[in-house]
Symmetry: C2
């Protein structure tokens, strides 16, 4: 019997991992990254190792789960020790930071590089954050800032934006702390508008948000390109911030939490009764047009 921590009763190297889940509630998610689609050919492998795990931890955070375990499947054009070593360095640096054990893996040769991660964690079921929990009158909040990752794609020379794109920070602590405070949550992976639409559809509610309130990368100020800014902030993917709703009675608690975590939490709008429709208002209070979220088959 091999174990790396108390929660891993049997680690990698057997047919499957055996994990102790004392809360008797397990959360699981899977994400597939494909070279040429989710990352550029020749992408820096250390950043890629970070990102492959980060996007999965972000999904767990959006449920309010504490991450615990991961499984990793990689296809590579050839056995490439240097690439794997750098990839592993990025993956494990993030894993260690959040106490995640790699408990299983599969590596195989294929013409194309692909990375699939399953991340697993735990959450008490009664306080898990579901997309379906938004209620009319809820405030709509978002963490951190938006549009940086999409800006990094358009302007790779802007270092802060490029870092947002290549090494996103999953909002793990925030997700856990939102248990019992937020009514619904999702992570911003396909763009604010598209991801908020998922909450609206599942919760059967509408929403109004104010464009001017949306927290955004400081780099937009000097760019003076309002169309790009709008596309990045409203419709840009890969930011991995948490978008959540909470009752107005929670405002003081959430402001205190933002201070405690050193992470801005911004109130951007309100959940409305009725149809699952999103209105984004400009500075004059008029509805703006915006692109829907990112489509992997677009």
């Amino acid at each position: 019997m091999t174990g790396t921590t108390g929660s891993v009763l049997l680690g990698p190297g057997d047919d499957a991992a055996v994990l102790a889940a004392p809360d008797a509630r397990v959360v699981a998610t899977i994400d597939l990254l494909v070279e040429g689609r989710h990352f550029a050919p020749g992408a820096e492998p250390r950043a890629l190792g970070h990102k492959a795990l980060a996007v999965n931890l972000s999904d767990l955070a959006a449920i309010g789960a504490a991450p615990k375990w991961a499984l990793l499947a990689i296809s590579l054009p050839q056995a490439d020790d240097a690439w794997l070593k750098a990839f592993a360095a990025g993956f494990f640096a993030l894993a260690e930071r959040f106490g995640v054990d790699l408990v299983g893996g599969d590596t195989t040769r294929a013409p194309q590089r692909t990375i699939t991660v399953t991340a697993m964690g735990e959450v008490p079921a009664s306080v898990a954050l579901y997309r379906a929990g938004a209620r009319p009158g809820d405030d709509i909040w978002v963490s951190g800032e938006l549009g940086g990752a999409a800006l990094g794609l358009a302007h790779p020379e802007i270092a802060d934006a490029a870092k947002r794109l290549h090494e996103p920070e999953p909002r793990v602590e925030l997700g856990e702390r939102l248990r019992g405070m937020a009514n619904a949550a999702i992570d911003v992976s396909d763009g604010l508008a598209g991801d908020l639409a998922h909450i609206l559809e599942r919760s059967r509610v509408g929403a109004v948000i104010e464009y001017s309130r949306l927290p955004r990368s400081a780099a937009f100020k000097s760019l003076k390109n309002p169309d790009l800014e709008r596309d990045c902030v409203l419709s840009g993917g890969d930011d991995y911030e948490l978008l959540f709703t909470a009752a107005p009675a929670r405002r003081a608690d959430l402001e205190a939490l933002a201070r405690e975590l050193g992470l801005p939490l911004t109130r951007i709008g309100t959940i409305q009764p009725g149809e699952a429709r999103l209105a984004v208002l400009d500075a004059k209070g008029e509805a703006m047009r915006f692109k829907p979220g990112f489509d992997h088959f677009a």
Copy 2:
């Protein structure tokens, strides 16, 4: 909150699945199948859906776990509803047979077709079947018959062998029933010799098996190709039988279990003290030479 069964508190369509694991022990495994490597370009998608899940359920069976949940990530050259529908039919037919719920997924476009499945299940930790549990004096057993899948690759016109290759049957019931009976187990995915070597290495023991005792596909008899037969039976992958060790005191129990399940269980050799070395004896009692198992980077 969406659920498909009592154990799925939150199913697909949210950021992650929330699963009830009342035993507080969760087993997880991941397998990646790549077109052109693990399956032929143009492979029949229904069989592929079956196989992608089967190879993962086989890993759970080798731990003695009851399968419960699966996550699926697919890359496809283009959105292809007919292919996905047939794939799903094969996947879900097997999933339903063993009570497995698909709780998460990710589909994306990529030049190459790849399929990654994470399967999860439950097992009481004290009776999980580890590779490291073999003891000197243990009998070595294998279920079903060997070599059929490799024969199906060499002779696709032999229907029984081709079916073994394309639609393997995971030994799920056997795995669960071996709890508390077997001391060590593994599934035969890379070939008998290679997979037995994993048990020997992890258990720090040796083994002697008798080639003539190995149960094998009836098709070999008429082929009269002893070299191919030896390579398929000793070193052929993809059979997904269970290879396990048990104390001699368990023989009557295991014979009764074989009758109950309608699945042959054959005693093929003995675990030895000392070095992790495998000897395969021919009819004269002399050591045979054989190929090691399948290497995905070969």
